[in-house]
C-alpha cells in the first residue's frame, strides 16, 4: 500500500514532465490549496520572507538548512551538511513525516500521509523555483525514501526483551531520559517512525556514518525489537 503510493507519485510527476515540460496545472492548483497547511509558518512567492519557518522560494536543488538568515535545528543542519538537498523525493519524504527524516527538526508538523496530496503540494512548490520545468523529479538511482519500506517489515512484531538488550548499544550515546546535547533523543518515538528511521539509515538514505554502521547490521527483526522496547519505556 505504501509502496503503491510512492510509485504513483513518481508516475504522476514523470507524466507531467514528459509531455509539456510543465507540471500538471490541476496538480498545481490543488497544491496551492494544500499549502494553506504550511502558510502559518512559511511564505512563498514574491516578497516572501522567513517567518516561523524559512521562505520556500527557490527550494529545489537547495541544500537543506542553507538560508543564512534562518536558525535551523541542529538536526536539519547536520543533514544539510551531510549532503541532503531538496528535490521531489527528499521533499516527499520530509513532508510525509518530518521527524522520520530529521529527528530533531523544529518543523512541528505531523506530515501529510496522502501521497497524491504530497505530489500536488510539491508540484506547487516547484513553480517557485527557477526553471521549474527542468527540475528532475528524482535521480533515477534513488531508491525512494522512507515510505517505500515494505509493509511486511513494518508489520513485524518485535520482541521487547531482545530490544532491551539491543538498546544497551544505543544508550552509550543516546540518553534514556531523552536528554539531547549533540546527539538526538530517541525516546518517545512512535514505533513506526522508529522502524522507518532505522531502515533509512540501514539503506543509507539517511546520512550519518555511525548510525549507518549501527543500523546496517541490525536485522529487520532486531529493528522491530528495538522499536518495541523503546515503545514500552514511553511514559
Amino acid at each position: 500500500m505504501l509502496k503503491g503510493g510512492a510509485f504513483a507519485a513518481v508516475l504522476t510527476l514523470t507524466a507531467a514532465l514528459g509531455t509539456s515540460g510543465a507540471a500538471d496545472t490541476a496538480d498545481i492548483a490543488a497544491g496551492e490549496k494544500i499549502f494553506s497547511k504550511c502558510k502559518g509558518c512559511h511564505q512563498i512567492g514574491e516578497g516572501a520572507k522567513h517567518r516561523i519557518g524559512p521562505h520556500l522560494n527557490g527550494l529545489f536543488g537547495r541544500k537543506a538548512a542553507s538560508h543564512d538568515g534562518f536558525k535551523y535545528s541542529k538536526s536539519l543542519t547536520r543533514l544539510g551538511n551531510s549532503g541532503l538537498e531538496w528535490h521531489a523525493d527528499t521533499l516527499d519524504a520530509y513532508i510525509e513525516n518530518p521527524r522520520a527524516l530529521a529527528s530533531g527538526t523544529r518543523m512541528s508538523f505531523r506530515g501529510i500521509k496522502d501521497a497524491q496530496e504530497r505530489t500536488q503540494l510539491i508540484a506547487y512548490l516547484r513553480t517557485f523555483s527557477d526553471n521549474p520545468a527542468n527540475i528532475p523529479e528524482a535521480d533515477p538511482t534513488a531508491t525512494g525514501t522512507d515510505h517505500d519500506l515494505d509493509p511486511e517489515i513494518l508489520a513485524i512484531v518485535g520482541d521487547p526483551e531482545y530490544g532491551e538488550y539491543l538498546s544497551s548499544e544505543c544508550t552509550t550515546c543516546h540518553q534514556t531520559d531523552g536528554g539531547d546535547d549533540g546527539i538526538p533523543s530517541i525516546v518517545f518515538w512512535p514505533e513506526e517512525d522508529f522502524v522507518v528511521a532505522m531502515h533509512a539509515y540501514k539503506n543509507k538514505q539517511r546520512a550519518h556514518p555511525v548510525m549507518q554502521m549501527m543500523a546496517g547490521r541490525l536485522s529487520n527483526d532486531e529493528i522491530a525489537a528495538l522499536a518495541a522496547y523503546f515503545a514500552t519505556i514511553e511514559e
Binding site: K74, T77, R78, N81, S82, E161, Y162, E164, Y165, L166, S168, E169, T171, T172, C173, H174, Q175, T176, D177, G179, D180, D181, G182, I183, P209, V210, Q212, M213, M214, G216, R217
Partner: protein
C-alpha cells in the same frame, strides 16, 4: 582536590562487615563482585543490578569516591572542560541497588571464590568481574618509574595526574619545550596521545606561542594519523615535532632529576615531560592469575577469562581481539558481560553478543574527528565487522557537528555508567 591511592588504603566501610560472611553456594541470592568502578565496572554493576531487579546481590569495589574520566581529560588540558565536569560519584549506583564498597581489592582466592580487601574484609562471589583498567610496565621507559610520576607525569589515569600535567604546562617558560614519550601498542585509547598533543598545542598557541612540542614515538604510525597530521599542519604549523620509529623515536630515555629527554642519542632539556609508558592489565588481574603476559585473555561471547569461567575481565585489562582499549569499548563489553552473567545466575535469556566503539578526538576548537567500528564474537576473538573514519578535508560544519556529537556521547556514556 582529587583523590589518590594512599588516602584510601586502610579505608573500610560499614558494609564490609555485613558482606564478609562467605556465602554457601546455592543458598540465598547469587552474588556478583565487580572490581573497579570505571567505564567497564560501573556499567556492568549498574546493568546487572538494574536488569536482575534484586535477584542478584551486586557489590562494586572501587577505592575512589569520585571517578574522574580519562575521556575528555585532554579537553581539560586544552581548556575546553573543567576538572569538576569530569568527576562522577557513585551515589546513583548505590541508589539503584549496587552495594558500593570504597576499598581496594588486594587478592583473589579462586578456589575459595573470595576477594580480599585492603580494609581486611573477605567477600565471597559466585561470579567475579574485574575491570581494573591499566598499570604501567616496569622499566618500559629507561630512567622512568612510578616514583618519577610527579616530575614527569603520565596523566594516563584520571584526576590528580591530569591536574599536575596541566599545572606544569601552564608554568612553562616562554618558548619552552613540552616533550611526550608516546607508548607502544597496545595501550589505552589509541588516539589519546595525539589528541593530547593537539590540546597542548591549542593551549600553547594561545598562551605561549613560541613554545615547542616534541613527541618521541616507538610506533611508525598511529590512530587517525592522517587526520591529526592534517590538523597539526592547519592549526599548529611549525610547533609539533613528531619523531616516529623510523627516526629513532623508540630509542628514548629520560632523566627526571635533570629534566632531560634523550632521543636516538640526542639529549634535550625540556620544561615538561609527559611519559606514557607501555601498559598492562591492572594489577588485580595478575593477582587473580587470569593474565597471560601483560593482559587477560577472554572469550568473546561473554568476556569470561580463558583461565577461569567464573572470572570475567572487561575493558582495558582484557585481551579480546580487535576492539581498541577505550571507554566506549569497555562500556560495550560490560553490557554483553552483564547479560551473560545474569543468564548464568538467574536463567534469563542470553542473546548473541554485539559490540561497538566510536572514538572522537578534538584537534582544535570545533575541529572534531571520529573513528568507529562494530564487532561480533567469534570463537577466537572479538572480530571487527564494519567501520568508518572521518575524512581529511572535511568542511568545518561537519567537524563542528562531530565535536558536538562527542559532547552528546560524553553525556550519554556517563549516564549509562553511573545512572
Amino acid at each position: 582536590m582529587t583523590l589518590n591511592r594512599r588516602s584510601f588504603i586502610g579505608t573500610t566501610v560499614a558494609a564490609g562487615a555485613a558482606l564478609s560472611a562467605p556465602m554457601a553456594i546455592g543458598q540465598g541470592k547469587p552474588r556478583v563482585i565487580v572490581v573497579g568502578g570505571g567505564a567497564g565496572g560501573a556499567t556492568a554493576a549498574r546493568y546487572i543490578a538494574k536488569d536482575s531487579k534484586g535477584a542478584i546481590d551486586v557489590v562494586l569495589i572501587e577505592p575512589t569516591r569520585t571517578y574522574y574520566t580519562c575521556f575528555f581529560s585532554n579537553l581539560y588540558l586544552g581548556g575546553f572542560k573543567e576538572m569538576d565536569e569530569l568527576g562522577h560519584s557513585y551515589g546513583n549506583l548505590a541508589a539503584a541497588g549496587v552495594n558500593v564498597v570504597h576499598d581496594w581489592a588486594t587478592g583473589v582466592d579462586r578456589d575459595a571464590k573470595t576477594v580480599s580487601l585492603a580494609g581486611g574484609a573477605t567477600l565471597a562471589y559466585d561470579k567475579l568481574i574485574l575491570s581494573p583498567g591499566i598499570d604501567f610496565v616496569d622499566g618500559a621507559v629507561e630512567g622512568w618509574d612510578l616514583a618519577a610520576q610527579n616530575a614527569m607525569p603520565h596523566a594516563y589515569k584520571g584526576g590528580s595526574q591530569t591536574e599536575l600535567l596541566k599545572a606544569q604546562i601552564m608554568a612553562m617558560p616562554e618558548g619552552g619545550t613540552f616533550a611526550m614519550v608516546a607508548p607502544p601498542n597496545p595501550y589505552r585509547c589509541p588516539p589519546g596521545p595525539y589528541e593530547r598533543v593537539s590540546m597542548v598545542a591549542h593551549y600553547l598557541k594561545a598562551n605561549n606561542p613560541t613554545a615547542k612540542i616534541i613527541v618521541a614515538d616507538p610506533k611508525g604510525k598511529f590512530s587517525k594519523m592522517g587526520l591529526f597530521q592534517e590538523g597539526w599542519g592547519n592549526h599548529y604549523a611549525g610547533m609539533i615535532d613528531w619523531i616516529g620509529a623510523d627516526f629513532g623515536g623508540g630509542n628514548v630515555s629520560v632523566d627526571p632529576a635533570a629534566m632531560t629527554v634523550t632521543i636516538d642519542g640526542e639529549e634535550t632539556k625540556v620544561d615538561v615531560c609527559n611519559v606514557i609508558p607501555a601498559m598492562k592489565a591492572g594489577r588485580i588481574a595478575e593477582l587473580a592469575g587470569v593474565t597471560d603476559g601483560n593482559w587477560a585473555p577472554v572469550n568473546a561471547a561473554d568476556m569470561s577469562t580463558k583461565a577461569d569461567a567464573d572470572i570475567y575481565v572487561l575493558g582495558d585489562a582484557s585481551q579480546q581481539g580487535d576492539m581498541p582499549k577505550s571507554g566506549f569499548s569497555a562500556n560495550s563489553q560490560a553490557k554483553v558481560c552483564a547479560m551473560a552473567v545474569r543468564g548464568a545466575l538467574t536463567g534469563s535469556k542470553v542473546f548473541p553478543a554485539k559490540f561497538s566503539n566510536t572514538c572522537w578526538s578534538l584537534i582544535d576548537t570545533n575541529d572534531g574527528v571520529k573513528v568507529g567500528a562494530t564487532y561480533e564474537a567469534t570463537d577466537e576473538k572479538i572480530a571487527k565487522v564494519d567501520g568508518f573514519i572521518s575524512q581529511t578535508g572535511e568542511d568545518s560544519a561537519t567537524r563542528k557537528a562531530t565535536y558536538e556529537e562527542s559532547e552528546g556521547w560524553y553525556a550519554g556514556i556517563t549516564s549509562d555508567m553511573f545512572g
